[in-house]
């Protein structure tokens, strides 16, 4: 156990070091718009990590995280611009609001199984999309919400996108550590049991329904917090972001990086967001390329980038073990008769 703690600590320290390096060497040299893309990717990772918990650990495919993201963003924006709630409080309330919605939806929908649940969450996304676009008193309608205040932490004001990067990166690091930790708790293990065989898990005394609801709420809170971050980071929010298509993009981010690995998911998120920047030359063919890329990726590496890496490691180990002597099928335990 101690070794494990040490490893995590080492990982955290080296990640912190990497963040500092990245911030000093790469981010400062990028254009503001590019930093914005990276920041937004980091924010989206909150949403994607919720989906990782749901799908990767719990085997529950939910297609309404974008609604949670949107609700968090709009609640935060509304509270700050209309009711003058200070930013940190508004952000927390935004996360809370998403959590409450997730609790309600989870209680309602998680009794269902398989495709029915997925269809339900799709319905939620479309309702959210419509409400965000039309409920002008709350979201500002088609114009969106603007003029959200700046975040001030310990006397330091986060003004530019470049100011935001270290903060977001640290947040993401904490989030990854949290995800890693969750996997080792009883809760995480019962979640994985539910994923692999709900009936067996139930027979072992896991409350399947409650486990699913808890993880759904957790994912909702994460997405809501991400939404609040988005609102404050950008200063304006427009309803056109929180559509079903964005949701599909989130799924792609998760699957691209690897549904079983938070770090893989992070890479997937950054990659999908940054891809348009990288493939500027393709211009009008960009979406076509994007579609082809998804198809090819899914066919040739369905477990994402992290899956490929893991497979390579396993193959290497098998190769190494093969060279060891003492392997062979003879002499099984049931050789008694002969």
């Amino acid at each position: 156990m101690k070794k494990e703690t040490l490893r995590v600590l080492l990982f955290a320290l080296s990640a912190l070091f990497a963040i500092v390096l990245l911030d000093q060497l790469v981010i400062t040299n990028l254009k503001n718009s590019q930093v914005n893309i990276i920041n937004v990717a980091l924010i989206f990772f909150f949403c994607v990590s919720g989906m990782y918990l749901l799908l990767g650990l719990g085997g529950v495919l939910s297609l309404c995280s974008v609604t949670m993201l949107g609700l968090g963003a709009f609640v935060c924006g509304f509270l700050n611009t209309k009711l003058n709630v200070p930013i940190p409080a508004a952000m927390l309330l935004g996360a809370l609001a998403s959590g409450v919605l997730a609790l309600f939806l989870g209680l309602l929908l998680l009794k269902l199984e398989g495709p029915c649940f997925v269809f339900g969450t799709i319905g939620v996304t479309y309702i959210g999309q419509s409400v965000f676009q039309n409920f002008a008193a709350f979201t500002g309608g088609p114009n969106g919400t603007g003029g959200i205040g700046k975040l001030v932490l310990f006397g330091y004001t986060f003004k530019t996108f470049k100011d935001w990067f270290p903060l977001l990166a640290v947040f993401v690091l904490l989030l990854i550590l949290l995800l890693h930790r969750i996997k080792q708790t009883t809760f995480g293990r019962s979640l994985m049991a539910v994923r692999d065989d709900a009936t067996a898990a139930y027979c072992m005394g896991v409350n399947v329904y409650r486990t699913k609801v808890v993880v759904f709420v957790l994912a909702g809170v994460l997405a809501g917090f991400g939404g609040s971050l988005y609102a404050v980071h950008n200063g304006t929010i427009s309803a056109s972001l929180f559509t079903f298509n964005t949701q599909l993009k989130f799924v792609i981010m998760l699957m691209l990086g690897g549904v079983m690995s938070p770090i893989g998911a992070l890479f997937g998120t950054v990659l999908v967001n940054y891809l348009p920047e990288l493939a500027r030359f393709a211009n009008s063919y960009l979406n076509l390329l994007y579609g082809c890329l998804i198809v090819l990726l899914m066919i040739f590496m369905p477990m994402g980038l992290a899956g490929i890496l893991k497979e390579a490691v396993v193959r290497y180990r098998v190769q190494r073990n093969k060279q060891l002597p003492g392997d062979g099928g003879k002499g099984g335990p049931s050789d008694v008769v002969s």
Binding site: V318, G329, V337
Partner: protein, 241 residues
């Protein structure tokens, strides 16, 4: 006559069969006995072309080791899978109809009423349930339906994978009686069983498998009285009985 020589089969990197030699003679019931994971099902899957394998499988002198599942079916080798995999949403009658695909072909209409008649004569219970959906049948009825569906394919060799699985002892006996009856019609049967005693009773020749290899083989009547086999595989059933 089915002849299998030096058959190896793999699941990924795991070798499930490590050189199997078996032959099923015309008109015989040949049974394969073994514990879970001995590779019995894999053997059948290899014959029907569902698993990656090497070695030679000959059916009436013709090499079918590389044949696809469809081609194997065309030869009249019918594999009735374990666990009674009937088509749950189709009725009993429709399940039987689908069984004819290997000689009927996709399009057109060749008469199969006589085949259905034969199956219903063999399993009168299926006729009673004719228009019921298959999921609503009991375990025994589903097993009969699975065998009946196999018969609809006009088999020249019937491979039955654990027909006794999950059935009550009385039902098992009934199913086995039917298997003998089918065999009397001249269809050779390759039977896979865990219920060694019953299998040895109905079969003519038996193989005993263990960890992907054949450990014993012999005429069933002789194996039945072989002390070593009695102890290792059949339990001391004389005391139980």
């Amino acid at each position: 006559m089915l002849q299998i020589e030096n058959l190896h089969a793999w699941y990924g990197a795991i070798e499930a069969l490590k050189g199997i030699d078996i032959s099923v003679h015309d008109g015989n019931i040949c049974c394969i006995i073994g514990a879970n994971g001995a590779g019995k099902t894999t053997l059948l899957k290899s014959v029907s072309g569902m698993v990656r394998h090497t070695g030679t499988i000959r059916w009436n002198k013709e090499d079918i080791s590389k044949a696809s599942p469809m081609a194997v079916n065309k030869h009249g080798i019918i594999h009735v899978p374990e666990g009674r995999l009937v088509f749950p949403g189709l009725t009993v009658y429709e399940n039987l109809e689908v069984g004819t695909i290997s000689w009927h072909g996709f399009i057109g209409r060749k008469p199969y009423d006589e085949d259905i008649r034969k199956v219903f004569d063999l399993f009168p219970r299926l006729e009673e349930r004719r228009d019921q959906q298959a999921w609503s049948l009991s375990g025994g009825e589903q097993q009969m339906l699975a065998i009946g569906r196999g018969l609809m394919a006009r088999p020249k060799l019937l491979m039955l994978d654990e027909p006794s699985m999950g059935l009550a002892p009385l039902v098992v006996e009934e199913v086995f009686k039917k298997i003998v009856e089918i065999n009397k019609q001249g269809i050779p049967i390759l039977l896979i069983e865990q219920n060694a005693r019953l299998a040895l009773e109905v079969s003519d020749y038996a193989y005993i498998m263990e960890q992907g290899r054949i450990k014993f083989e012999g005429v069933s009547k002789e194996l039945e009285s072989d002390e070593r086999i009695l102890q290792a595989y059949l339990g001391n059933f004389k005391e139980e009985a």
